[in-house]
């Protein structure tokens, strides 16, 4: 058990905790604006070519998208529970819940991989790589540029989140966290929920417009 020491530039543990949390919220603001740029491109092009978005979206797999939504929502729940357990000195159960969250991330990426390989196989690709005959609209490659860019950036965030969860698991196992100090678990949790939050919008916007 390594006891956490409060950095000397803070008055007390509460101030250190509040400063960390404010930092994470500010980071999440930049994340929303990062994804926001892609959402803006999406909205403008959907406004310009609504029938193309409708047609192209039919070639996404709704079932796989819905499965991934359920997986992410469940993982958000287990993450919130893990934070709560860590706060209540219950490292053992926190560790189990973190592991389930990590596995959910793994399932999400596996389903994503299956979707991507199917799209690549069919030639439903961005820009000049598009080689699918059943969609006649000349702007259709644009939809798949957005699809790969938005889900790709989101997938990258899932991978980063899994890395953070792994790190928090190692530290939980080592006994670093208790009721007085559990900042990394909580901050990883907030980040993981943002990843879920973005998917909540990506899912209907990409998969459910057909």
């Amino acid at each position: 058990m390594t006891k956490h020491t409060i950095p000397s530039h803070f008055d007390d543990a509460k101030q250190a905790y509040e400063a960390s949390k404010l930092g994470v919220w500010l980071f999440l603001v930049t994340e929303i604006l990062l994804f926001g740029g892609l959402f803006v491109i999406y909205i403008m092009n959907r406004g310009l070519y609504p029938e193309m978005f409708h047609e192209a979206s039919l070639h996404l797999n709704k079932v796989m998208g819905a499965m991934n939504t359920v997986v992410l929502i469940c993982s958000s729940f287990t993450m919130a529970m893990a934070v709560s357990r860590a706060k209540h000195n219950d490292s053992q159960r926190a560790l189990k819940l973190l592991l389930i969250t990590f596995i959910c991330g793994l399932i999400f990426m596996t389903i994503k991989y299956m979707e991507y390989s199917h799209k690549i196989h069919e030639g439903l690709l961005p820009g000049i790589h598009f080689s699918f005959d059943e969609i006649s609209h000349p702007k259709a490659p644009l939809f798949f540029s957005l699809y790969f860019m938005m889900t790709g950036l989101h997938g990258l965030h899932v991978l980063v989140g899994m890395g953070l969860i792994f790190w928090v698991m190692v530290r939980t196992r080592r006994g670093d966290f208790d009721e007085s100090y559990h900042t990394p678990v909580e901050m990883t949790g907030i980040y993981w929920h943002l990843v879920d939050l973005i998917w909540i919008y990506l899912f209907p916007l990409l998969y459910l417009i057909g």
């Binding site: 509040e18 949390k21 404010l22 919220w25 500010l26 999440l28 603001v29 929303i32 604006l33 926001g36 740029g37 959402f39 803006v40 909205i43 403008m44 406004g47 310009l48 709704k62 819905a66 939504t69 359920v70 929502i73 469940c74 958000s76 729940f77 993450m79 919130a80 529970m81 709560s84 949790g189 907030i190 929920h193 943002l194 879920d196 939050l197 909540i200 919008y201 899912f203 209907p204 916007l205 459910l208 417009i209 057909g210």
Partner: protein, 87 residues
């Protein structure tokens, strides 16, 4: 323990809303499809923010910081949209 019961209620609500949004996507309400889908997504997002991310119990300053992101996003969408669609 009290919080954990809330989490359970939230996750059940999120799953029910997911079922509703997938079901409604099979019906054609014209322009209302996107309105319904975005309304449900926003309810889900609010539940995640308020309860999973503890924003409801967080201090005011963090709430303002996070909400400011959406104000900037609205400006971003609004001004770009005005340029693309109203010119």
């Amino acid at each position: 323990m009290n919080h954990e019961k809330t989490y359970l209620a939230v996750v059940v609500s999120l799953l029910i809303l997911t079922v509703i949004t997938v079901t409604t996507s099979y019906f054609n309400f014209g322009i209302f499809n996107i309105v319904v889908a975005m309304a449900i997504a926003s309810i889900k997002a609010s539940l995640v923010c308020l309860y999973f991310m503890h924003l409801k119990y967080d201090n005011k300053f963090n709430q303002v910081v996070f909400i400011s992101a959406f104000i900037f996003l609205a400006i971003f969408i609004g001004l770009t949209g005005a340029d693309v669609f109203l010119r």
